[in-house]
Symmetry: D2
Subunit: 419 residues, 4 copies
């Protein structure tokens, strides 16, 4: 799914991404690798092993006729949902498995890395043409899991009344160079949406196709905590008329009164961040809000969320730069960019769109088990765009489609308005 790249490039990129995964675990104690506190948030140990299993299953097993797995039960323990490769272990039981130990999982990574690098080194060109694209998927897959790992760890630490920090940080005092929200306008017309096929992409970005867009406007920057607090203080969480029916039901059932990780104490808002428990910085973009909250906020303002086509059409011309995981800041930053045009399009927070996650016209999933990667989730989820402070710069692009359920908040998700 993309043009062919050199063997050296692959070896370098494979090593970089695999190493970065392990670098992200350096602040952790053994205990932190093991626990699962909700079905959607897997233990770090599982992420480490699952990304490795991916290379073992889709590259090594396919390359060697009588491949002997490093441990035959890992296929069961570390499969996620690829039913065609055999029944996976229940997703909500990943945290029950204390063995293999963390040490054994790191050993598993080393073993597979050695085999993959040996294979890349020794395989014929014809073999390389086959495994290259799969390794590229594996590398991108691992980057996705790096991001999940951070979100899952944040969720884990936030359950602990001691609020341990992933990497302790001072309260952020950064301020934005703010001059109010402005709007960028876009003309109506037929636009090409989706990827043209140069470079790595997922199947769900294809095929490139035409859509007719009405005239629209996008906000120049993300919604801030300051604005979101105004929404809260204006009774945002108490006025059903601002909410979708399922959104209101969720607010009532879960008792939501603020974004995930926020706490009201002595008249001030605090939140848990990967840097520890801190006072909310009003200039930062709001993060950890659900689709329901993004939608309600937009209705309160008198605006709406963009469609994914609107977003993509606007973002296509923007440079891919911003606050990514490579910065190791692990939290969105205030908008400090001056001038007109769109700010914070990439990085900081994933931006909810109003678009239900669906197949593009003429969409075809990858053949075989990898076809389960994207297509089968095209139901009851909403698309997010632009990457976040937990995403790799090398992983994002204008056509990239992320997707979550409307009630989910534990990823780094925020809001950009449209009209």
């Amino acid at each position: 799914m993309g043009e062919s790249l050199s063997r050296d490039y692959f070896i370098k990129r494979y090593k970089e991404v695999r190493n970065f995964t392990e670098k992200l675990t350096e602040p952790l104690e053994i205990e932190d690798f093991v626990v699962q506190v909700m079905e959607n948030a897997s233990p770090t140990k599982w992420h480490l092993a699952h990304t490795t299993w991916f290379f073992e299953t889709f590259v090594l097993e396919d390359s060697f006729e009588n491949y002997q797995p490093v441990n035959s039960q890992y296929a069961y323990l570390f499969n996620s949902y690829y039913l065609q490769t055999g029944d996976p272990h229940c997703r909500d039981k990943r945290g029950n498995i204390t063995r293999p130990t963390v040490k054994q999982v790191f050993k598993y990574r080393q073993d597979i890395d050695q085999k993959i690098l040996d294979l890349l080194d020794s395989c014929s060109e014809r073999e390389f043409d086959q495994i290259g694209p799969v390794i590229e998927i594996g590398i991108n897959h691992e980057q996705q899991h790096q991001e999940l790992m951070l979100a899952d760890l944040k969720y884990l630490f936030a359950q602990n009344p001691l609020y341990p920090a992933y990497i302790p940080k001072e309260d952020s005092m950064d301020e934005s160079i703010e001059s109010g929200l402005t709007w960028s306008s876009f003309d109506e017309g037929i636009q090409w949406i989706g990827h043209n096929g140069k470079g790595f992409t997922y199947d769900n970005e294809h095929p490139m196709h035409r859509q007719f867009l009405q005239e629209y406007q996008l906000a120049n920057r993300l919604v801030t905590n300051r604005e979101y607090i105004e929404f809260i203080e204006d009774g945002g969480y108490e006025r059903h008329s601002l909410w979708l029916d399922e959104g209101w039901a969720t607010v009532v059932e879960k008792g939501w009164e603020a974004p995930l990780y926020w706490e009201h104490k002595d008249g001030e808002w605090y939140y848990y961040t990967l840097g520890g428990f801190q006072k909310v910085n009003p200039d930062e973009p709001v993060v950890h809000v659900s689709y329901f909250e993004a939608d309600a906020f937009a209705r309160w303002v008198g605006a709406r969320l963009p469609t994914e086509a609107e977003w993509e059409n606007a973002a296509g011309n923007q440079p891919i730069e911003g606050n990514f995981v490579e910065d190791q800041y692990f939290h969105p930053k205030p908008d400090t960019q001056a001038g007109e045009g769109l700010h914070q399009i990439y990085g900081d927070v994933w931006e909810w769109t109003q678009s239900s996650y669906a197949a593009y016209p003429g969409y075809k999933p990858l053949p075989g088990a990898l076809g389960e990667y994207n297509g089968k989730f095209m139901c009851n989820q909403y698309v997010l765009r632009g990457g976040s402070c937990a995403t790799s710069l090398t992983h994002i692009r204008p056509t990239y489609r992320n997707f979550f359920h409307a009630h989910e908040r534990w990823q780094f998700m925020g809001i950009r308005l449209a009209k």
Copy 2:
């Protein structure tokens, strides 16, 4: 929401629709009016009262300054979800209420009918301009509830091991004049979608707007039971690769093996119909399948479901005729139409589209409590088009958007394929 119509027309149509609701209850025993067996399926008594409450609340209360409700607690008992008019009684508890009795509810209907007809008779032109549109919504609202009533009654009777018939009927032996499935082709291009504003419509059909459609094909008729049985016999319910992820989870959790109301007995398929428990007629359109099943069936065939824009673009030129509730057949019929082109577009079964229910660009809900009618459900539901054997002929149109959750099956829902 539509051009103004004469007072006589309203009086006639009001009477017709209100009478037809009561006609539909004639086959029932008192006991059948009361019971609720799932949250989504309300008791007949509740439908009778709720549609009446609608006129009382949105017409009478708004028309008379000191309006005294017929019974002040009915507003609580028979509100559905209009939070702006006050807290409704819990939806899943509608079946707990044995009083008012059925007789009292019919009395309530008569009282309100009298008041509405008096009002229509006596109001000034200016008042008529105000209440006319609301009465028209009320009439259409009641037609929607007629359809729900039939689906809910079917669901109720099907829980009873005695399988009582709503209106006993012989097994259908009708055959289709079938010559295989054929496809109608449609060119790519910009199309106008949504309603132009003449005649009654709901807010969700507006505004009319342009969409770019790729070239596509629609099947000439609905999917039949014969075809669906082939899918079952080919392991359709056992092969996860045919299903969306949430669809497969639903199949496993609910143990689905066939459409709702089907039973396998002595090597034959049977189903419960409103005519009683019968042998499945293979020539009929399959009905009572979820979005998940429609989607899996389409994947099995190598086709897909249409988008709602594709459907609307194709259906716009078709005459609105078919097997509607006025026929009092209460079940879809085999395709007996000869010749090319699209058959069974209207009536028989609601046709699942692949489109998530969403606002059209520039959509504005009605003002006030009636604004809760449609917009707040625009999340995690899928659009169905064309009406069914339980829909009124006078209620349907090319732009009409019905919507249900992907797992729901108790409405009269079926499948038309696209490519």
Copy 3:
């Protein structure tokens, strides 16, 4: 299980009890017979049919070799839990069944009554010796269901915000002739507990056996609403130290703040009674409290609940008289008895004992399916003694053991203290 009685006696008693069941349904509308609002509270229609099925199954089917059931599916629909007679219809789905209609169920009763009375008239002495005891169980079984029917109807009506009365009544102003709570003392020693076998009894009252009782004291009367309100006002429902662990968990989970059916309005306590929604009469015995509440109240007072042996030992000498269902008052009454000794021992409310429901030493269940009547419930339930205002005078005796789970409140249950 008891000495033999004359055929005439049986015919008379059969007719009386069967008629009284139907008399109890006279205040009902058809709608009231059908609905089930919790698993434990069955529809009146079901009670009417089930008690009839009991006679059909255990008397008629056993008496006639080729007995043709009145309706072969009733055995499935109206069995309760007798697994040996075939799978019963799910208990929580009794309310889904609108057919047979109420009229048809009354017809079923008449048909079976005719057959039973014919059989009693025509059978040989040897046959009579066999069926007599089973009919006696059936009569007592029906009396149990009369009581359940009243409790279930009360629960049903109480769900309705309109609070319909079963039989409308004025607020009770009756006062007790109260002179404070006094205590009756009983010596330590070996006592005979259980039934000696004269007259009808259930298997769980056997065998009569010895128990050693320590010295103890019983309160002369039941705990009143006045006393219970003091408990509430003293923070009874807020102080975990007063409660059993499971009791406190129940209070928190269910949000209990008072007995079932109580509401606090404008600083006063009200309750729903079968006579309608009324102001709580402080002189009446408190009713509709769980074992947990009875136990917590007793701990608050510094007393405890009696054991069932203590209760039986004390009650054995008391006359069986009081406020029973024959009075058709359907609610407990204030203690108006003067003088020393035990008041209100029988009737008014079932009295919770601290005894877990268990087999007496040497207990043997009845043979066959009727052996499922009692023994299999001897786990996690607590014994209540003395009958209530919903019990028949002809149904109660000193050795009678009723039993419910510790959290249940919908029967007419109250409190007598011990030390």
Copy 4:
């Protein structure tokens, strides 16, 4: 609660028990200390900290006026259910807490040990009289948690498809010297039950009181796996008539077909033991059965379970010896004792009695928060007697009352029959 013992004795016993807890954790990896897989089974780390918190709260905080806790949040994290000492952290969330780390918890233990030993060394006689009894409760409390820890670890490891062993062992081939089951008889009469007050006891063993026991017989040994397999093969889990009503419901709901940890593979029975996954040894006592299974097995045999009074009356004369946790075998052993009389009364498995856990006549809980230790659990649980292979020899006595819910199986529970 017991006569006073010397200071040296306390110091020695404190050290022994605290050290033994840590010895039991030696086979574990860090990962094994952290995870919780069901509400009732706490992480090892929690047990280590909670037993320490007990000494800190009930001894140190009470002894020093301005005691500064080692970590002020530990009181919240490591309280179990003592509501009087402040809200405990939710029991089902103990596994969410990765910090403090295992190392920090061991440090916490050392800190508290030092303080306790210093206190024991330096306190006045008057102070010693106060803290001695509390320390003794703390020591016994820790022994209870040693046993829970082993049962919880077994449950944890059994969730892992890799079946890691706690301490790997060969399959047991031990055989019993069996000559069939025999019965010991006991005469009827008044017996003293409960503890006379010499030596340490829990409040629930008091007061000693009289009970009248009918003549009864006890089986000379525990029920074996061989006998239990016969029950299974005779359809024990398929015949509802053998089960209590709630037992049968549990069998159906949970799909039970054998004791906990058993698996049927290639026609043979296997089980997970703390020594690993092994073939069932038919001569061993059956273990990990619920009250429901013990009761059904007894009914199948034509016997019953003993009452706790019967058990205590019989066991009072037996020497306290057997297979205890000190043996570090962690699994019950076959009966190898020759001769008449009762075997295996102590150790091996806790023996279910038919007695609901209830207060003895005149029972008084301890004052203060320690009064929550036992009394508030006296509802819906059943008494077990005699200790198990996970119990300390120094912890058990004839009057010791253990208790669990009827459906629980994860402790080392087995069956002795009575008639």
